[in-house]
Subunit: 157 residues, 4 copies
C-alpha cells in the first residue's frame, strides 16, 4: 500500500481545506494518507513516505517561510528523499496573484531533493490552486490530484 | 510624451481584447500607444519605444512560439533594448493553467534584454491575466496595468 | 526494455554534444535510446517513447522557438503524453545567463502535458547545464542524467 | 543622492562577500549604500531606501527561510515598497544548482510588492551569481550590478 504525507501551512483554513480534499482523493484511490500541519512535521517525519504533498498559501508569490524552513532544515537528510514522489498546492487571494509560482517554488525545492514530480494534463497543471476558500472547481482539482499522486505512488515502488 | 508598444499573439481574440484594454489604460494616462499583432512586428519595430508590453495566450505554460520567435530574432539588436520598460500579459483557459508562468516567461526574456520590469502591488502581480474572454475583473487589471506602465514610462526618460 | 527519445536543437553543436552524452549514459543503464534533432521530430514521433528528454540552447532564458514550436504543435495529441517521463538540458554562454530557466521552461511544458519529472539530488538539480562546449563536469552531469532517466523509465512501466 | 540597501543572509561568507562588491559598485556610481545582514533588517528598515538589493545563498533553489521571513513580515507595509527598485543575487555550490532560481524567487516577491526590477543585458542576466566564493568573474558581475542599480536609482526619482 502506498503511503502519502499531505502537509500544509494554513492561517485562514483555506490551504488546510485543500489538504483534506487531496487526502480524500488519495484515499479513494487506495493510499494510506497522513495529514499534518507543517508545524508538526520535522525533516525526519518525511522519511517513511513514498509521496509527499506540500501546500502553502501564496505569500509573496512563494511558499510561506515556515514551509521553506522545513525544506531548509531537511538538508540534513539530503539524498534520502530522492526518488520519492512530490506534489504541491496553494491557495491565494487573487487569480494572477502568485498561486502558480507558489506551487512551483515548492516543486523546485523537491526537484533539488531529487524527488519525482507529476504534472496534470487536464486541470491545474502544476498542482491545485484555490482562490480564497476552495470552491467546487478547486475541490475537484484537489480530489483528482490526490488520486493522481496515489496512482503514481502505487506504480512506482 | 512616452511611447508604448503593445503587441500580442491572439488566435481566439482574448489576448487581443486584453491588449486593447491595456492600450486604453495607457492612453488615459497620457501615453502614445501603438497596438500591433506580433506577426507584424520585427525586432527593429521595437527600437523606438520607451516601453514594450507583450501578450500571449498560455501555450504549455509559456508564451506561444511565434512570440518566442520574435524574441529570439531580436538577438541581432541585443543591448539596444536595455533600459526600456517591459510588461507582459496572458490569457488562458483555466485558473492554475499556466497563466502566471506564461507572463513570467516573457518577463525573463525581457530581463535578459536588460529591460526594466515593474510589478503590481495590488491585483495581478506579474501582469494581467484573463481566464478565457476578459471579464470585468480582467479588464480592470488590464486598464490599471496600462496606466502603471505609462506612468513609469513618463518618469523614466 | 525502456525506450527514450533524446531530442535537441543545436546551432553551435554544444547542445548536440550534451545530447550524445545523455544518450550514452542512458544506454549504459540499459535503455534503448533514439537521438534526433528537433527539426526531424513531429508530435507523433513522441508517442511511442516511455521517456522524452529535450535539450535547447539558452535563448533569452528559455527554450529556443523551434523547440517551443514542437511543444505547441503537440497540443493535438494533448493527454497522450501524460504519464511519460520528461527531462531537459541546456547549454548557455554564461553562468547565470539563463541556463536553469531554459531547463525549467521545458519542464513546465512537460508538466502541462502531465509528464513526470525527476529532479537530481546531487549535481545539476533541474537537468544538466553546460557553459559553452560541455567540459568534464558537464559531461559527467549528462551521463548521470541519462542513467537517472533510464533507471526511472525501467521502474515506471 | 540615491540611497540603496544591500541586505544578505550568509553563513559561509560567500553571499556577504558578494554584497560588499555590489555595494562598492553602487558607491562608485555615486549612491549612498547601507549594507546589513538580513537578521538586523525589519520591514520598517526597508522604507527609506530608493532601491533594495537582497542576496541569499541557494537553499533548495530558492532564497533561505530567514530571507523569506523578512519578506513575509513585510506584508504589514504592503504597498509602501511599490515603485522602489529591486535587485537580487545568490551564491551556490554548483553551476546548475539553483542559483538562477534563487534570484528569481527574490525578484518574484519584489514584483508582488510592486517593485521595479532591472535585468542585465550583458552578464548574469537576472542578478549576480557566484559559485562558491566569488571569483574574478563574479566580483565583476557584482560590481557592475551595483552600478546598474545605482544608475537606475539616480534616474528614477
Amino acid at each position: 500500500m502506498s503511503t502519502i504525507l499531505v502537509t500544509y501551512y494554513s492561517r485562514t483554513g483555506n490551504t488546510k481545506a485543500m489538504a483534506h480534499h487531496i487526502a480524500a482523493g488519495a484515499r479513494e484511490a487506495g493510499a494510506k494518507v497522513d495529514l499534518l500541519p507543517v508545524e508538526s512535521v520535522s525533516p525526519e517525519t518525511l522519511l517513511p513516505y513514498r509521496a509527499i504533498i506540500i501546500g502553502s498559501p501564496d505569500y509573496y508569490g512563494l511558499m510561506a517561510a515556515p514551509v521553506k524552513k522545513l525544506l531548509d532544515d531537511s538538508v540534513k537528510l539530503h539524498g534520502q528523499l530522492a526518488g520519492k514522489i512530490g506534489g504541491a498546492f496553494s491557495s491565494s487571494a487573487n487569480i494572477g496573484g502568485g498561486n502558480e509560482t507558489t506551487i512551483i517554488s515548492i516543486l523546485l525545492a523537491m526537484l533539488v531533493h531529487g524527488m519525482i514530480i507529476p504534472g496534470v494534463a487536464v486541470g491545474d497543471h502544476y498542482g491545485p490552486v484555490a482562490i480564497n476558500a476552495p470552491d467546487e472547481r478547486a475541490i475537484r482539482q484537489c480530489h483528482n490530484y490526490g488520486k493522481l499522486i496515489a496512482n503514481l505512488s502505487a506504480k512506482l515502488t
